[in-house]
Every structure is written in C-alpha cells, then in structure tokens.
C-alpha cells in the first residue's frame, strides 16, 4: 500500500487527496446544516421560554435526522401544469451552487501527512477565490427564481420575483462593501487574505462599516429574517417552495441552512481572521506547546478557531431571526439602494485614503 502511494504519479495522488477532502468537506457541511436546524429550533425555543426538541436523542440532537427520514419517505407531489423539468432542476441548482462555494474556503492552514503539506481547503490558493464565491452565490438566485416560476403558482412566482430583486440589489452592496478588504489585503485569494490577518490584525478593526454592510447584505443574500421576504409566510404561503414537498422541499431547507454556514464562513474568513489563532505560533512554541506549522495540534487549534467564529455567526443568524420583525419590501429596497450603497462607496473612498496615507508615511 505504502509503495503504491509513493510510486503513484503525482496527479493520481493529488486526485485522491482532493477526493478525500471533498468527501470530508461535504459531510462536515451537511452535518453542519442539520446542526443548524437543531440550533435554530433549540435557540428559538429558549428565546420563547420553551424547551424545543428534546425527545429524539440527547437534547433532541437527532431531531434533524428524524426530520430528514420523514421528508425522504413523504410523497413527492408535482403540481399539474408545472414545468416538470425546471421544477426538478431548481432544488438541484440551489444545492450545487452552495456546495461548490465550499471548495475555496480555507478551514485551516496545512497539515503534514506522510511528508506532504496538505492544505485544508479543497481548492487552495485559488487566485480568484473571492470572485468565485460571488459568482457562484449569485447563481443561487436562479434556483429560487426557477422554483418560483416553474411551480405554476402565483405565490411561488411572487416569492421568486421578490427574491431575485432582493438578491440582485444586495449583491451590489455586498460586492462594493468587500472592496475595502481587497484594498487592504491586495488579493482575491482567500488563503492570502487569511494570512494577512494573522496576529489579531482582523479586517473588522479596519473595516467596521464594510463589515456591517456585508453582514446585513449576507442576511439578505441568505433570505433570512429580517429579510425573508421571498418566503414571507403570512403573505406568500411558503414563497418559492410552496409547491415543493418531500425531499425536494428538504433540499431547499438544506440549502437555506448551508447558506447560513457559508455566509458565516465567508464573514469569518474576510473579517475575523479565518483560522488564525489569537496568538502567533512562535509564542505558543516558546511556551513549550508543540504547535509547529503542519503539526496535528496546530491544525486542531486552527480549525477550532475557525469553527468557533463560524459557530458564533451561525448562532447570530438564528438570534437575529427570532428577535427582529420582517422588513417591508420598500424598506428593504430603501435600505439597500439609498443607504448601504452610498455608505459602501464612501467606505471605499475612506479606505483608499487610509491605505495611501499608510503606504506613503508608515512604510
């Protein structure tokens, strides 16, 4: 076995490593999504003086699995006069878009196994990483619009239209708010952006306005409360997934929660230093802790750092949902176009001045 690995051509090894990484990331993501379902139900219960799911497994932790089993065995109903192809395609588009974005997210630095430095991202050092994320996540709107349109239901259609208008508007704010970060780090490569933030040099300290705009825009992008207009229950029944049942609905459900995890991960990577530890590795080494680059302990600490920050944002998404009422449609558009877009542009100007002053006098 060992000889086979050492004698195999380089591309075969790379392929195997990548496949293993994909499998791990996919499973972590899907498990994380079910964890999010649990967290949402539990946290909402706590905020409303209830106890939430507590029957299936310890603390109700197996509740999402029970839900999925139920959804899988439910009848899959496709409405008459629905466009069957697109009706089937919509959830697939939604989920594949979300999954593919996970490819560029760095969960840690690198791990040294069998004398090899294996980076903890499926596609590490992708020099257009951030652009790729934005390109893929804006494709997500197709899934929702197609779902709304192909269902042959006015409520679904309205939900789909609202979501496309909302997502396109906020995509702009999101893209513009991120430019400040790019100016500071000078790269689109997520791995590089994380390296630049090592030693508590988190971007959120230099880009507070950009961070707030990005945070709010990511709420709108994930279609979460207070911007969950596409599925506003009292107005639109279920929004774009009114006519979906069984596991197709389950897929939309999964997409919503994977989207939250994704948005939390991007927030962590861009503004909160990704997997970097609060203290530099050299400090840990001088204390006698074997935290050398690539050592298992370092990887564990880094992944722990990443998942702690990400977990906080996941909770934040849930927390906000159960605290704030839904925005009205015109309020949403006013906020996006009249407040956030000018603010984001002003942020670019300020950052530009700041960066050039820094480069001229302090370097």
């Amino acid at each position: 076995m060992i000889e086979l690995i050492t004698t195999a051509p380089e591309w075969v090894i790379q392929l195997i490593i990548t496949i293993i990484k994909i499998v791990i990331v996919l499973h972590v993501m899907l498990l994380g999504a079910s964890g999010m379902v649990w967290l949402e139900r539990k946290a909402s219960a706590w905020m409303q003086y209830r106890s939430g799911p507590n029957r299936v497994g310890p603390f109700g932790l197996l509740q999402p699995f029970a839900d999925v089993i139920k959804l899988v065995f439910k009848e899959d109903i496709v409405p008459d006069n629905a466009n069957k192809t697109y009706h089937f395609l919509a959830p697939l588009i939604s989920i594949s878009v979300v999954i593919s974005v996970y490819a560029v997210l760095p969960f840690g630095d690198y791990i040294t196994l069998f004398g090899r430095n294996i980076s903890l991202a499926v596609a590490p050092n992708m020099n257009i990483g951030l652009l790729y994320i934005f390109a893929m996540s804006s494709l997500g709107v197709y899934g929702i619009t197609l779902a709304g349109w192909s269902s042959n239901n006015k409520y679904s259609l309205l939900g789909g239209l609202r979501s496309s208008a909302q997502m396109i508007s906020y995509e702009i704010c999101m893209g513009v708010s991120i430019i400040g970060v790019l100016m500071i780090s000078g790269t689109l490569d997520l791995t590089e952006i994380v390296y630049k933030q090592d030693g508590m040099m988190w971007n959120v300290f230099f880009q507070p306005i950009g961070f707030i705009i990005f945070l709010v825009a990511s709420f709108a992008e994930t279609n979460r409360a207070p911007f969950d207009l596409p599925e506003a229950e009292p107005e639109l029944v279920g929004g774009y997934h009114t006519e979906y049942s069984g596991m197709k609905f389950g897929t939309f459900f999964l997409v919503e929660y994977s989207h939250i995890i994704l948005a939390s991960s991007i927030l962590t990577v861009l503004f909160f230093g990704g997997w970097t530890l609060p203290v530099k590795l050299e400090v840990l080494q001088s204390l006698g802790i074997p935290a050398y680059p690539g050592a298992p302990l370092t990887v564990l600490l880094q992944a722990g750092s990443f998942f702690t920050k990400m977990g906080f944002f996941c909770f934040f998404f849930v927390w906000v949902r159960w605290s704030l009422p839904r925005f009205r449609y015109d309020q949403l558009m006013n906020l996006g176009w009249k407040i956030f877009l000018p603010l984001a542009l002003a942020n670019i100007l300020l950052t530009g001045i700041g960066v050039s002053v820094f480069n001229a006098y302090f370097r």
Binding site: I212, W319, V320
Partner: protein, 166 residues
C-alpha cells in the same frame, strides 16, 4: 395637499432610532436574556397538571357505596345544549325508587358547559378533573355507565367547591 400633516416613520424617529443598529442591539439583548430564563412549558406525559376543584373536566356520575346517586329524573338530558346525554329510567327496590337503566354521554357532543351539574337535584352528575379524553372511533366516544361512575371519594374537591360556591 394643503392639510396633509406628515407623520411618517422617518419624522417620528430620532437620529439613533433611524440608525437601526442601537435599537437592534437592544432587541437582541432582550432575546439573549430570555434564553436564560426558566421555561414556561410543561413536559406533558411526564409532568401532568393537577387542576383545581373549579375545573370543568368530563362529566361523571357520583357513585356511593350502595350504587349511583342518580335518580334518572332526566333534567340533565333536558338541559344539555348539545344533546349529549341520554337517560333511561328503571325501577329499583331502594328508597330512591328510580335508577338509570342506561346513562350515556356522547363525549364528541359534550361541550363541558356544566349545565347538567348545575341542574342536578341530587348532585349526582359532577364535572371531574379528567381532561385526557382520547377515542379512536365515534362509537368509543359514547361513554356508558361503566366509564361514567366514579367513586365519591375521588370527587371530593369538586363537591367541596360546589358546596362553597353553588
């Protein structure tokens, strides 16, 4: 447009409220505090609620040591607004001379108003504390004497309540 007084949201709010963020932070603080407060719900099958004597659960017939109190006068059946009670009288050798040969309450019809209890001259039909009513078919919902007769010892709370307030 002369007499239109503007009172829009933007005019009512002050600067900090218009910023949303401090108010949102306040709201988030409220929900966060709520997370650590004790629950108001009850874990039902394990923790059951014991109602007070004033509770109107399912109507039952009071059973003394020598049989039911009911004399089959039929007043409860007459007063029942949902027509849920059926009584058929029979004769007995005891002092009260009459007894219900058949006494049925259709629990799907019963609305728990308590009129039967109020009208009963013998205090023979009272509202119990039983609120767990489950049937699997309409036929099961018709409770006969076997289910309605409850020993007087178990109904002391309600009888005490009736003595005080009726």
């Amino acid at each position: 447009m002369a007499n239109v007084t503007k009172n829009t949201e933007a005019q009512r709010l002050n600067f900090w409220e218009k910023l949303y963020l401090p108010e949102i932070a306040r709201g988030l603080g409220l929900t966060f505090k709520a997370m650590f407060k004790p629950n108001m719900t009850r874990q039902y099958p394990e923790e059951r609620w014991e109602p007070e004597g004033s509770y109107r659960g399912r109507p039952v017939l009071v059973q003394e040591e020598d049989g039911e109190r009911c004399v089959a006068c039929g007043l409860c059946s007459r007063v029942c607004p949902a027509l849920a009670i059926e009584v058929q009288a029979g004769e007995t050798d005891k002092e009260k001379e009459r007894f219900p040969k058949l006494f049925e309450i259709n629990m799907l019809r019963c609305i728990y108003c308590g009129f039967c209890e109020e009208v009963c001259p013998e205090e023979a039909i009272v509202m119990s504390k039983d609120y767990e009513l489950v049937f699997t078919s309409p036929e099961d919902a018709i409770y006969g004497k076997d289910k309605l007769l409850i020993p007087v010892a178990k109904l002391q709370d309600r009888l005490e309540f009736l003595r005080q307030y009726k």
